[in-house]
Symmetry: C2
């Protein structure tokens, strides 16, 4: 069976980038069919998360300023351990070199990796030269902005754009939690030696949603009842596979809360709609050692592929308040939500009460202002001698002991400011597309020959319909072209193909996953009907041209 990547290349789904310049690993072009498929998968994602969940989409620059990634931790933590060949200069990931020798490097420190490399006398896989000790290599692409070259990075994830816009977004959502925000866009990771085609790209497409929630209500998702009965295959951190409903996984404490479980189910439903067979989907919990630096619990949706085994395609993480807290620290800007209590609380508080009778004679017409400033002062600021400093019109005044007294009052408190937590489903679009192609590709005996059929779901197929004429004579092809133009005008992505026999054309359309083929034949000239052939069942149905668009 032809490799699916070879098929994708031959038919115009995917091409390795920069071929005429010798290629550049980690980059892929989506050809005409691939780009159409990708657009449809992204539209399906929007139907699920933007329209369905109401997570409004934003679109931000891929170039970010350095401060963003200092705050997010990517400048210091988003690094790989590399060793460089002292002879040919090529760089390699230290852990990958050891894994190839059968070493389990999980959780090893850089010192331990170094030790292991020298103990095993590992040499350069390219030229056999000696290797340097481990250096860290930051996986962000760096660039300079403007003539002065302010440091910028290409974002390693689309999420950060959303975090730093928190105040704008919170206001957009009328200051109410929870709310979700989505982004579909490119992200970048300067991988050291990417070799797994679409699975490890240096430039890739993400679809991420960041859902901001009150940490106290993570266990009550308003739509959880709609998904609570859905069963998922789990591989929890303890390594024991289980199949549980969403309700069970939360009750048993295997998944931390309803918000995570809800998004796991929605992810499962999305993958199913995209055409991934459900028996090839599982959810695997991250072990502590592989968790990203920002996450407290994370489940990966994985798809079982023929070529690569289990492949992570979606990560569903509870990022807690890590990111917002980091950006508050780095920027000095408050990124918080105000949570109103169900019933206002009464809280006792110590305040300073000015003695207006004594202030009046001393401060005269300023006495009122001084009194207010005393009342607004922090009782902790009272000095050892019982006096306090206040600033009146830019001038510092020392107010003596006796001009005011400490007093305990009871106050009505309406709510409190909190840093929301973030639940994030993060989809790797390119990996999903690989899995879709691999799952859809089948080989079948049709008309006595072994043929490839791409059973893409109609909702994501690159073309909606192919239009053929049975033969190219007696005006059949003109008629077919008219039908094609009519469908195109109605917004169908239609394929018009005239070359070769009708059998070859069906075969070619099957191979790229066109779900329906419309054929104009001699009967068409008599009664204005055409046949619609279903790619999967190969059944034909005859319909009036006037009803065709509706029928499709």
């Amino acid at each position: 069976m032809e490799d699916v990547i070879e098929l994708a290349r031959r038919r115009g789904f995917l091409w390795p980038s920069y071929e005429i310049y010798g290629g550049a690993s980690g980059f892929y072009d989506y050809g005409p069919l691939g780009a159409a498929l990708k657009n449809r998968v992204e539209d399906l994602w929007r139907r699920f998360f933007v329209i369905g969940e109401g997570y409004m989409e934003i679109s931000s620059p891929a170039i970010g300023v350095e401060e963003v990634f200092r705050a997010s931790g990517h400048v210091s933590h988003f690094v790989d351990p590399i060793v460089t060949c002292e002879k040919c200069g090529e760089g390699f990931r230290a852990d990958h070199l050891l894994k190839e020798k059968g070493v389990d490097t999980d959780g090893m420190t850089y010192e331990e990796l170094d030790e292991e490399l020298s103990k095993r006398k590992v040499r350069c896989p390219a030229c056999g030269g000696g290797l340097s000790r481990i250096n860290t290599f930051n996986l962000m692409f760096k660039t300079g902005i403007g003539a002065a070259g302010r440091t910028g990075y290409l974002r390693p994830e689309t999420a950060q754009n959303i975090f730093i816009l928190f105040n704008r977004l919170y206001e957009f959502y009328r200051k109410k939690l929870p709310f979700g925000v989505a982004q579909l866009g490119r992200a970048y990771r300067n991988e050291i030696s990417p070799r797994q085609g679409l699975l490890r790209l240096r430039e890739f497409s993400q679809a991420e949603a960041e859902v901001f929630v009150d940490p106290g209500s993570k266990d009550r998702h308003p739509r959880f009842p709609e998904v609570s009965h859905v069963k998922l295959r789990l591989l929890p951190g303890d390594g024991e596979p289980r199949e549980l409903t969403a309700a069970e996984m939360v009750e048993k404490g295997i998944v931390a809360h309803q918000y995570l479980a809800y998004h796991m189910v929605r992810t499962y439903q999305f993958l199913r709609e995209a055409g991934i067979p459900v028996e090839r989907i599982r959810f695997r919990q991250h072990r502590k050692t592989e968790m990203a630096h920002y996450a407290c619990d994370c489940w990966d949706a994985e798809v079982l592929t023929e070529r690569y085994g289990w492949v992570e395609v979606v990560g569903i993480a509870d990022r807690t308040d890590y990111d917002l807290r980091s950006h508050i620290r780095e920027s000095g800007v408050d990124l918080k939500a105000f949570l109103r209590f169900d019933t206002p609380k009464r809280e006792k508080r110590v305040i300073l009460e000015p003695d207006m009778k004594r202030l009046g004679p001393v401060y005269k017409d300023k006495a009122k202002e001084v009194g207010e400033l005393i009342r607004a002062s922090d009782p902790g600021k009272v000095k050892g001698d019982g006096s306090i400093d206040i600033v009146v019109e830019g001038e510092r005044l020392n107010i003596e002991k006796g001009m005011f007294s400490k007093k305990t009052v009871e106050e009505r408190v309406e709510g409190e400011k909190i840093i929301p937590h973030v639940i994030e489903p993060s989809f790797g679009i390119d990996r999903i597309i690989y899995c879709i192609l691999e799952s859809a590709r089948t080989t079948e005996e049709r008309n006595g020959e072994e043929r490839t059929v791409l059973r893409l779901k109609p909702a994501i197929a690159p073309y909606d319909v192919a239009v053929f004429s049975l033969v190219s004579k007696e005006g059949l092809d003109e008629k077919a072209f008219e039908v094609f133009e009519m469908l195109r005008e109605k917004g169908f992505l239609a394929l018009y193909d005239t070359s070769g026999t009708i059998g070859r054309r069906y075969a070619r359309a099957d191979e790229i996953g066109v779900p329906y083929a419309v054929t104009v034949d001699f009967q068409t000239l008599e009664d204005d009907t055409v046949t619609i052939r279903d790619r999967d069942t190969m059944k034909q149905e005859r319909v009036k041209i006037a009803d065709l668009a509706e029928r499709l």
Copy 2:
């Protein structure tokens, strides 16, 4: 009247990027409403060019390897003249500094700019310091790929990806000209001091189509008759404004050929559909001095804005064979199309004819192969002594004079290889969005107050529909929420708003351009009908909930 950019910021269309880190000029975020608007404008573009014209879309990396931009000319030509302040270090464009002093710098050399700057004693606008002489500054963002740091650039235009894929695309289109390929994506220009908001971004969105044509048939576009009657406002290179039909502009030689004129009309139609008033659209021809290094004729679609005057939003260029020729030279790969002659030609050609009778005895069982190699040799390679060298199985053989003879033959030639020319409509999506917002924003007296209404066309409005309940009691709001959910499930981008009076809610929806508002009122509870209010006419219509989706 509130500035449209201020409105866009307040309501969540557009936000300057990285605000919490002090901002970064030349970068903008599309907020929830802006991103939705942008998606819709891009979808409209796809309906015109991808579906309508059949220019299949591809999607390539934004990071390109250096060779691409050496070939395209961007490494050497895509530069700005800058001067740097010797005191504060800030960089400025030399020509901009002079333009601010009223100097027409068009066509001036760097020497002349330098001279003019020192003659006028121009100093740093930021701190008054002295300025350096002119340096060139490349406008591409540079980065390093992989551990070895192979030079990469962020693409300054999406077009190059298409050119370098020519052979793949030509094959996809079954080796037939003309064909078109589109790409929507980010492009990058490291502007020196971008100050015009959305008009001069460092990271921006392009929608480009590259149409590959036989240079000999640029004057016959198959669909030209469909557009030949459409009138456009032109400002040709000679500076004399004219209003001509597409047919006239080509006949009079004002626009070079039908392919350009056709795409100018389609551009005009697109802008009109996007909501730009036609009286604010004109096409301006580039003067020779402003033409990009790759173009031979170029027309800009310009839109008259209130804030910036005439703004270029689309460029329609004949890029000739410049790009393909450049990539052939740089890569050594043939990027050509085979053009079949209408009738095959017979051409005379000199070949070498082996004399098998004399070769046989000398070369025995290799004689046949030697003979074929002689026949395949270039007659120009025959040496002064009449012998020729050939290589048989890796071994060089000298074949003596007399073993072969020159002979003139007549051959049937089916066609020739040519480098196609490229016609390119290139759309600046961000600028178009600015123009759409500015054109749509009106101020009207409604209910006795001055109010802002954003008259976005329904096809591109961020929300399709708003759903309100007249008051939030007696279950009206639950019913309204049901209607909202029903519309959302049918794929409508719907807005549900419960806060404030119904009047305030209509006003808020008008301000962000929601074309229709559906209101649930007391009658709804009786007969399951709701009202639909039209944003622009403010007329209300009552429909059954069951017919609502259809009606919208």
